[in-house]
Amino acid sequence: MDDMMAKSYKTFNHTADLGIEVYGEDQKRLFINAGFALFDLITDMDKVEVKTSLPLTAEGMDPEDLMVSWLRELLYLHQVKGYLFRDFAIHEMSEEVLKATVKGEKFDPRRHELIREIKAATYHQIKVACEKGVWISRIVFDI
């Protein structure tokens, strides 16, 4: 599972910040993989256990806005509530709304390391598209 997840995104160079390109066989999987990529950049995912689950709804004007909105909600739960997530189940998805259950645990300084601070997911050159049957998203994070 983790190996597959690890290959589901790659980082690309952006001078000051950090960009990711995420892939998925469908739109749901693309969003799941983007959620995983976010936390993979923040911490060592091998050390995150599933101890709790939360419902999460994100809304956007279009798929690009929905992607930023989804990452924004995940970041909020991480930065303010202290969660690290590793499993993402999307129950409902349209171009504008996404309903999911996210699973993980609260940050524990004895077991977890925070590798970097991600300030926000930006709209800079944001992309969500299906190319030759593969869903691709490009996102630049402000770090």
Partner: protein, 483 residues
């Protein structure tokens, strides 16, 4: 939605490069750089971003960029743009997520021999005493009402609570408070994110540094700033922490959802904006001012603890240390200022994203103590080379809305910097250069290696030669705490 086609760059003279107006650009782009720097700048997408900013309604004269410019998101880092209050816009992406990320320098009565053998002890004490690193929370816990007081009062809140001195306020840009702040416009989320982070340095490029004055270029200004050769100084670089990030994010979202109604076609969504005179524009300005105030309070608290730690570690009284603030500048801000445009004085909104205000001698916003020489401008470099103190000039008022560069500017992406560090001990390399470095985050030192940045001396030489600020002093790092 990026502009298609190749950009034309024209060399105006040794220190100015121009992007002529092409379709959709309201004004030309003007970049301060020399040939070497412009060759590096061309490697990323920041010139395209200068052109993109020139599309925004109400932009005046030029879309400007400083020599430390690099690829940002929306606006380039190092970008300066002024907008008409009636027809122009304000853009959260033109300020950045870390609102009022800024830098201050404190002078002391100490000289190099006083601390040379105590650097490890001092850096360790600062590293332990100043909360830093990813998601760091501070020793100050605020309830909602107290937090709102911070947002209204800025650095003054800190001084009233016993952190720092009244004199510090006089030597802070805007006296450490933007009066337009209105805590009622910021979200619950922003308040939540800010509650436990006051008095924290943060991570990434934020730092606290002990340095020595290595060279003086302008004796008169140095005397006014109370700087002399071999003197020990302390620099603090930090911002508005999670509070500012959230304010920026909230308003980008809110403005984006309204853009359809504005009839503005954006070359990049991150350039989203609102007319300054609109309700949304006013709300953002009031929210941004809250974050600016949070950042000033933050740097003031950090200053207080730094003074305490130095006094305790060196066993000195406050009078012996005499650690006074030289000045505190914003790097990421939008401000309503009066500038002369086509011979007439006009109030405009100047965005500085990774740029520093550089007001000249005689300007009423320059503290009285410095009014005869001009505003101190603080330019931190990377952790291995040097930093500069400059002074603002009349030429900056004429050409750049009273603005200059803000630092070295990144050259390498963080990923590339990390790759180049495999198998190296950066702390040891720095120690061999005579600099004690401690960092909270495992990745920080690798991402912040000196070669990841442009040489700040190249950057400063351009602004000095172009005349938009003048060199006063060069500082060399001795000890650095990184987040």
């Amino acid at each position: 939605m990026e502009i298609k086609g190749k950009l034309t760059i024209e060399k105006v003279d040794d220190y100015h490069f121009k992007i002529p107006c092409s379709e959709g650009m309201q004004v030309p782009g003007l970049i301060y750089a020399n040939q070497k720097l412009i060759d590096d700048i061309k490697l990323d997408e920041s010139l395209r971003q200068v052109a993109n900013v020139a599309h925004l309604p109400g932009i005046i004269k030029y879309s400007l960029a400083m020599p430390d410019m690099h690829w940002g998101y929306g606006f380039p880092i190092g970008g300066v743009a002024a907008f008409d209050l009636e027809e122009g816009i304000i853009s959260p992406g033109g300020v950045g997520y870390d609102i009022n990320c800024g830098c201050r320098i404190l002078r002391t009565d100490l000289t190099l021999p006083d601390v040379r053998d105590k650097m490890r002890q001092l850096v360790t004490a600062l590293f332990r005493g100043i909360p830093s690193g990813v998601g760091s929370t501070g020793k100050i816990k605020l309830n909602v009402n107290e937090e709102k007081r911070v947002l209204r009062k800025g650095a003054r809140w800190a001084v009233e609570k016993g952190y720092g001195d009244m004199e510090d306020l006089e030597r802070t840009e805007d006296k450490g408070v933007m009066e337009d702040a209105d805590p009622e416009v910021v979200s619950q989320r922003a308040l939540e994110r800010g509650r436990n982070q006051l008095g924290t340095l943060g991570s990434g490029n934020h730092f606290l540094e002990i340095g020595v004055v290595d060279e003086i270029y302008d004796q008169e200004a140095a005397r006014a700033f109370d700087l002399f050769e071999n003197q020990i100084v302390v620099s603090i670089h930090s911002g508005s922490r999670g509070f500012g990030y959230q304010v920026c994010d909230d308003f980008i979202k809110a403005m984006l959802h309204k853009t359809g109604k504005m009839n503005i076609e954006l070359p990049d969504r991150q350039l989203v904006c609102a007319y300054l005179k609109s309700e949304m524009g006013k709300k953002y300005y009031a929210g941004m001012a809250c974050a600016a105030n949070y950042a000033w309070a933050n740097r003031e608290v950090l200053t207080h603890w730094t003074r305490e730690i130095l006094e305790k570690t060196l066993n000195l009284s406050p009078g012996d240390l005499n650690m006074n603030l030289v000045y505190d500048v914003c790097h990421n801000i939008a401000k309503k200022e009066v500038h002369t445009i086509d011979g007439k004085e006009r109030k405009v909104c100047v965005h500085r994203k990774g740029a520093t205000r550089a007001f000249p001698a005689g300007h009423q916003d320059v503290p009285k103590v410095y009014r005869e020489v001009g505003q101190p401008v603080l330019i931190p470099g990377d952790m291995g080379r040097c930093s500069y103190v400059l002074v603002g000039t009349e030429k900056a008022m004429e050409e750049t809305f009273g603005s200059t560069c803000h630092g070295a500017g990144r050259l390498m992406s963080r990923t590339k910097a990390k790759k180049s560090c495999r198998g190296r001990s950066i702390a040891q390399e720095m120690e061999e250069r005579g600099i004690v470095v401690m960092a909270e985050g495992r990745a920080t030192l690798a991402e912040e290696i000196p070669e990841a940045y442009k040489d700040v001396s190249d950057v400063v030489e351009v602004v000095h030669q172009a005349g938009i600020s003048k060199k006063v002093a060069k500082l060399k790092p001795l000890g650095v705490v990184k987040g």
